[in-house]
């Protein structure tokens, strides 16, 4: 089981991806192809639990609320 700091690091990477634009889970797996699959699931789970993700109508993950505006600016 990866340590909490590792999960935080991955969560930040996933959020950075979403800041660039809407992403599917597939995009996370592709962009983080060298990272551990299970650690990605844990990081994704942490983001979901903290409700940092919303969804667009295509089903992509986008940054929730304030996050979404930042994403649009980027």
């Amino acid at each position: 089981m990866p340590p909490p700091s590792e999960i935080d690091r991955l969560a930040q990477r996933i959020l950075a991806l979403a800041r660039r634009g809407p992403i599917f889970y597939y995009d996370i797996l592709r962009e983080l192809r060298d990272e551990d699959y299970r650690a990605i699931m844990l990081a994704f789970g942490q983001i979901r639990q903290q409700q940092l993700f919303g969804r667009d109508d295509k089903g992509c993950y986008v940054l929730a609320e304030t996050g979404r505006e930042e994403g649009a600016k980027a």
């Binding site: 797996l29 299970r38 699931m41 789970g45 979901r48 969804r55 109508d57 089903g59």
Partner: protein
């Protein structure tokens, strides 16, 4: 009989490949899609649990599992529905070799694959779901579960199912629904729970009916529900009374199209129990879902025709019609019954296309069905179109309907039986002289 017995049967039939090299969990779906056989992934990188996927990807493989020719499975299911055998609760079972509770509950211990590019995340696709309602008792079905976080899943309570009814009752009483999710089960049991029995009817009794003996269950450790004793893995869960509030999907459906994003209830996992050397099962979409549906909808068609007093000799719910939408039936026709059979079959909400032929046609051979349509049908007399009937929402050709309005669709029926007025001599087929007197093999070196 359990998943392992099925794996042995598949291997004997040459319908299983074993991949011994380590596989990245990212590649489970693609490798399964490329395989013409069921796949046993012995080593998934980062996990100590093997994965099996695509096991019931064809009707032939389902037939191997059910120990019956593929044309006979639907009828057996309809007989089991008439002769159910209730399950039996036993003291212990291998599915509880290992019990994980409290902080040990972590869904990321399981190698959940991402099945489709558009899917909302990794899914549990082989979840046999056994729930309880204080009034209606036990109910079993198959539901998809999207990974949300290590202790939570989204559930696809999309259709008007019994479990959805249980949930709506629980929601208004502000209580959770206790539910066991069994992963890694025998295809006979999977077919049984996919059957849409009336609410209050425990589908596990159909599983018993198919085996001819009761299915064994164990009591869950943390919730008031039971699970099949011989499952590989059991998630002991509660559907939380928080309403349809969490985004779930998208997910590649049995229609071969990707379903829409929906708002669904959240499921909390209270315990994970499993066999000591558990195998994680994946239902590879869409084909395994389609194949599991075929006998269920064939059983419905058998029931309908029996009720209508028509003697059917074979029924084929086609995989091209995604196991739910198209039905072909062969009957022993008495005057006019070609039409009666078509009308009866189209009365089921799921069937949008029904073809009825005489018993001489092999309905598992599309060529023969087409030949019957050519030679026995006059469109003005034998084709029935009924507009404005209740339809299944997942058919993308339907005009848009705003929920809660249910979509309306058209039904198409073809009576491809020999017309009553036919001049029989015109239906004389070619036969070869001395066909039974010689054998080609005898003339080959």
């Amino acid at each position: 009989m359990d998943l392992r017995a099925f794996l042995t049967d598949l291997e004997k039939a040459g319908e299983l490949i074993r991949i011994r090299r380590p596989v990245d969990p990212r590649h489970i779906s693609a490798l399964t899609a490329q395989s013409k056989k069921g796949v046993y992934f012995e080593k998934i990188r980062g996990y100590d649990m093997p994965v099996v996927a695509g096991l019931v990807g064809t009707m032939d493989r389902l037939a191997v599992g059910m120990h019956a020719p593929k044309g006979a499975i639907g009828r057996r299911v309809s007989e089991a529905v008439q002769k159910p055998i209730p399950p039996e609760v036993v003291k212990e079972g291998p599915c509880q070799d290992v019990v994980l509770t409290g902080t040990e509950v972590d869904l990321t211990r399981l190698p959940l694959p991402l099945q489709g590019e558009i899917d909302g995340g990794p899914y549990i696709s082989a979840g046999m779901t056994i729930a309880k309602d204080p009034e209606y008792g036990r109910n079993a079905g198959f539901y998809r579960f999207m990974y949300n976080d290590p202790t939570h899943l989204g559930i696809g309570l999309t259709g008007p199912s019994d479990l959805r009814l249980f949930y709506q009752r629980a929601l208004s009483a502000k209580r959770p629904v206790p539910m066991a999710v069994a992963i890694g089960t025998h295809p006979s049991d999977m077919v049984a729970v996919t059957y849409k029995a009336p609410v209050g009817y425990d589908e596990l009794a159909i599983a018993g009916g198919l085996w001819g003996e009761p299915l064994e269950l164990v009591r869950c450790k943390t919730i008031d529900a039971e699970a099949p004793a011989n499952a590989e893995i059991v998630l002991e869960c509660e559907i939380l009374p928080t309403g349809f509030t969490v985004d779930e999907g998208r997910f590649g459906e049995f229609t071969r199209f990707v379903g829409e994003l929906v708002q669904m209830p959240l499921v909390e996992v209270k315990a994970i129990t499993h066999r000591r050397d558990a195998i994680f099962q994946v239902i590879h979409m869409p084909w395994e879902n389609i194949v599991l549906d075929v006998p269920v909808y064939e059983a419905i068609a058998w029931n309908i025709l029996t009720t209508a007093g028509i003697e059917a000799t074979a029924i084929n719910v086609t995989t091209g019609g995604c196991g739910q939408f198209h039905v072909v039936a062969a009957i022993k026709k008495r005057g006019g019954e070609g039409k009666n059979a078509v009308l009866a079959l189209l009365s089921a909400a799921s069937f949008k296309y029904a073809v009825v032929v005489d018993e001489d046609i092999d309905i598992f051979d599309p060529d023969q069905v087409e030949w019957a349509i050519f030679s026995r049908v006059q469109a003005d007399r034998d084709v029935i179109i009924v507009p404005g009937a209740r339809a299944k929402p997942l058919d993308p050709s339907l005009p848009p309907a705003k929920p809660p309005a249910l979509p309306l669709g058209a039904k198409l029926g073809i009576d491809a039986t020999i017309p009553e007025y036919a001049y029989k001599e015109r239906y004389t087929t070619i036969t070869y002289p001395f066909i039974n007197d010689v054998k080609l093999e005898d003339y080959l070196d």
